[in-house]
Amino acid sequence: MANPSPSGPILSAQNLCVESLGGKERFPVLTDLNFTLEPGKILGLVGESGAGKSMIGRTISQFLPHGFAVTKGTLKFDGEDLVGMGADRRRDLLGRDIAFIPQEPLSGLNPVLSVGQQMKEHLLRIGLQPGESWKLRALKEFEAVHLPHGAALLDKYPHQLSGGMCQRILIAMAFASRPRLLIADEPTTALDVTIQARIIKLIGEMQRRDGTAVIFITHDLRLASQISDEIMVLYAGRPAERGPAKQLFSDPAHPYTRCLQLANPNISGPRRGLFILPERMPGLRVLKELKGCRFASRCPNVMEACTQTEPPLADIGPNHIAACIRTEKTPDIVPPPLAPGREIASANIHFNGERLTKAYTTAWSPFASRSSFKAVNSVDFTLGEGEFVGIVGESGSGKSSLARLVVGLDTPTDGKITLAGRDVTANRNADKAFRRDYIQMVFQDPQSALNPRRRIGSIVTQANEATGLLNSHRERMVRAAELLKEIGLPPDAAMRFPSQLSGGQKQRVNIARALCTLPKILVADEIVSGLDVSVQAQLLDLLLKLRDEHGFSMLFISHDLSVVRYLCDRVMVMYRGEVVESGRTEAVFSKPQHDYTRSLLAAVPPDDVNSEWSPVLAEAGYQVE
């Protein structure tokens, strides 16, 4: 099916500009995009959300949001003009020569059609060999992506499968037609680290098999540098830097690339401080009025000339270009020194959980015997004053179930919980009230955790409404102003609604709400996942600052090991409801004792681009998906 043309790039963009024309004002979305992608090469697109990474994928497919259009430049697929071509020709290319892998594997498949029905539809669409049965072909494609029990899989529906399996099916579909170009838009963001590693390796394997050119979109510079040949860093719709992956990562020329790199905590070597990128990327609407460099407002190396004219993308080495007039100063950007390590010698134990177990039993039914499943199995742990304890593990390992037991949203089926010397295991109403004063929870998704119809001021002081401590609205607004100041939001935010804040600001509000009644313990469930690294760094910094002020301790659940390593004093590794390893973070991460911990650590892309990333792909004794 694929007929690689011997000459020329598979995809080339020249001075490509995309603008929003609909609505009242016209503003640029993508500016001055120039790149070529040779067959068999991988181009990584990196940047914060809103930088325009996904817009490139949408421009290639020409499914742009309403009112957006290519206004300048060309975009060619194997010499054919993608923008000007007819809809029929483009539809013919999509799915066959140009394939896509989505971000959310579970929602990428139709929930009411079986895997077989969807696979059949796609195989018939791309065309089978004469006499070839779609079923045999489907099984062949499943085998290529290492999906076991392919025949049984055909009858399954997406909700019966894990995210990793769905992503493998989507990869099998994408590569079934031996495409010449693949666009993978954050294909592993929604997956666990170990599965991320396997999926990335799989995409690489398939790409090498077919000689497919790949555009790999990710917010993770470290990941991009591991798998890409070339990386393009986007900032506010314009390339900031483009160059060979390894060179760009080890020797970034643009301050933004350097800052992004330093905003992400490292996984090996001595811990270092995080570079906090201030504020956020300018919105696309204000770009029109902006003179000078887009990054100037956040750049540590900014000088007068930067704000006068937009710096051109200049050559700074072979195949390496950057839009900065002071690239020689970029290596001078260094992370701030690490806050002095705290000595958690305090014998003041706030929380003590012994043999905590939460078992779920299936509902009684005349048709099946009842079965029981232990989400949390005999977990012991303590939380001392001012101590940050991280819980890591894959989804389904019982992290969130444990958090619910700690907060008191669930009652353990076995074990004992002592909170400040008081036994609260039974979780009676009096225990609950005591607990609420003591423990508060920060939820994962600020989008759904904040009531969209309440103003920020009343959201953050919600806890006071029930306690009767601050009865009047005015008293509560005074408290709200204090809280907003602490979390670094302007006082006028109190009158706004959640929809008027950015994702990072919402998560700050989420934290402020938990802190309102000054609890001694915070339970934070994946509170920085799904946020940009710059926002993540801001929030991690904020949490450390707030601990210095209030001295609370925290149970911090995360799938991101480098974040846990940066933030937490101790770490517990959970696997299938049990804690398989725990100890001081440094010790566990530098000398992991348990195989599972080792496989988790190996799954994280290394900091050093030259060291080999060798995740354990199918470990013995541990279930593969």
Binding site: S61, L94, A99, F100, G108, V112
Partner: protein, 340 residues
């Protein structure tokens, strides 16, 4: 097949839960109607009956026994298929309901079919014109349709097609002079079985106006639910992915969009169909259609307790059956509900 096993389980479960529901409903019906200040004994005797005669009748009918005993007797009779005799018509209630229920079922089923066709076609059209100027126009019309009740449609259609143009009949189920075959009681079915084509055509002509009136009145809510479910489905990733795989818009709509969007529409249809059993009443009266609705009106007017009880139970059973059917359809269409 796992799906059939699941449906079988559902059926067993639902039939088992239907028993207590029916018991509660029957008890309620019995008590409420017994508390009404109507004396069945006096009603079944001529107006000049003496007090002694009434008392004798009361003890003969068992009305002097305690209420729970009366209920027991009534329930026992019920289980033997005997709901009692109509006081007014002097006929078995089972026979009366047996004569009128098929007519109402026919009316409701065909009306629902009309509503489904209009609802799905209209919903697809509303969805198709999304974001265009036509959308506002269609929106206006769909709300206009939504605000017109079925009896207005009945009168309107009757006046236009029955009275003014005189193209369609508008009273009863069959014109005089047509033979009425009786096999199952369902007129359309019976004329088809017996090969009586002229009766079939005449009966169908009689169905057109009442079914249109009901169908048109039910369809706008279906349209709007389908449209909004389609809009929701089109926000989902799998639609975008289907586009990126190069599928045609038509295929995406029918196979991916509609298959998901039909689920909420189906729930609404189930609710509507349940209401339709009681809701045909006004239309039956307007078109002098000899169904359950007309029977109920007569029964209430004459305080004919056995008929009211029988009709109430029939309604309850109909709603239970419909909900089981809708739930089974849901299981077939939505794999997420099937137990692993």
């Amino acid at each position: 097949m796992r799906m059939f096993a699941t449906i079988a389980k559902l059926l067993v479960k639902r039939v088992l839960t239907a028993i207590p529901i029916l018991l509660v409903v029957s008890a309620l019906l019995f008590c409420i109607l017994r508390i009404l200040p109507v004396d069945p004994a006096a009603m079944s005797l001529p107006p000049n009956a003496t007090v002694q005669e009434i008392e004798a009748m009361r003890s003969e009918m068992g009305l002097d026994r305690p209420l729970y005993e009366q209920y027991g007797i009534w329930l026992n009779q019920l289980l033997h298929g005997n709901i009692g005799r109509s006081i007014h018509f002097r006929q078995d209630v089972t026979a009366l309901i047996g004569n009128t229920l098929p007519a109402t079922i026919e009316l409701a089923v065909i009306a629902m079919m009309v509503a489904t066709v209009f609802g799905i076609a209209g919903g697809l059209f509303l969805f198709y014109v999304r974001g265009t100027r036509m959308e506002a126009v269609m929106d206006f019309f769909s709300i206009l349709l939504l605000s017109l009740p079925e009896f207005l449609w009945s009168l309107f259609l009757l006046l236009v097609f029955g009275v003014f143009f005189e193209v369609l009949p508008f009273t009863g189920r069959l014109s005089p002079g047509f033979e009425r075959p009786v096999v199952t009681g369902f007129l359309l079915l019976d004329s088809l079985i017996t090969g009586n084509i002229s009766s079939l055509i005449n009966a169908l002509q009689h169905m057109i106006l009442p079914c249109l009136a009901l169908g048109i009145a039910l369809s706008p809510s279906l349209m709007r639910v389908l449209r909004s479910s389609l809009l929701d489905a089109y926000q989902d990733d799998y639609i975008h992915q289907a586009r990126l795989r190069g599928l045609s818009e038509k295929r995406i709509l029918v196979r991916h969009g509609l298959k998901n969007a039909i689920l909420p529409t189906l729930s609404l249809m189930g609710v509507q169909f349940g209401f339709l059993f009681g809701g045909t009443l006004l239309v039956e009266i307007i078109y002098s259609y000899p169904g359950m609705g007309n029977l109920m009106v007569d029964a209430i007017r004459n305080a004919d307790l056995p008929i009211i009880q029988g009709a109430g139970l029939t309604y309850c059973i109909a709603v239970l059956v419909i909900s089981i059917v809708v739930d089974s359809l849901y299981l077939i269409l939505n794999p997420k509900l099937r137990v692993r």
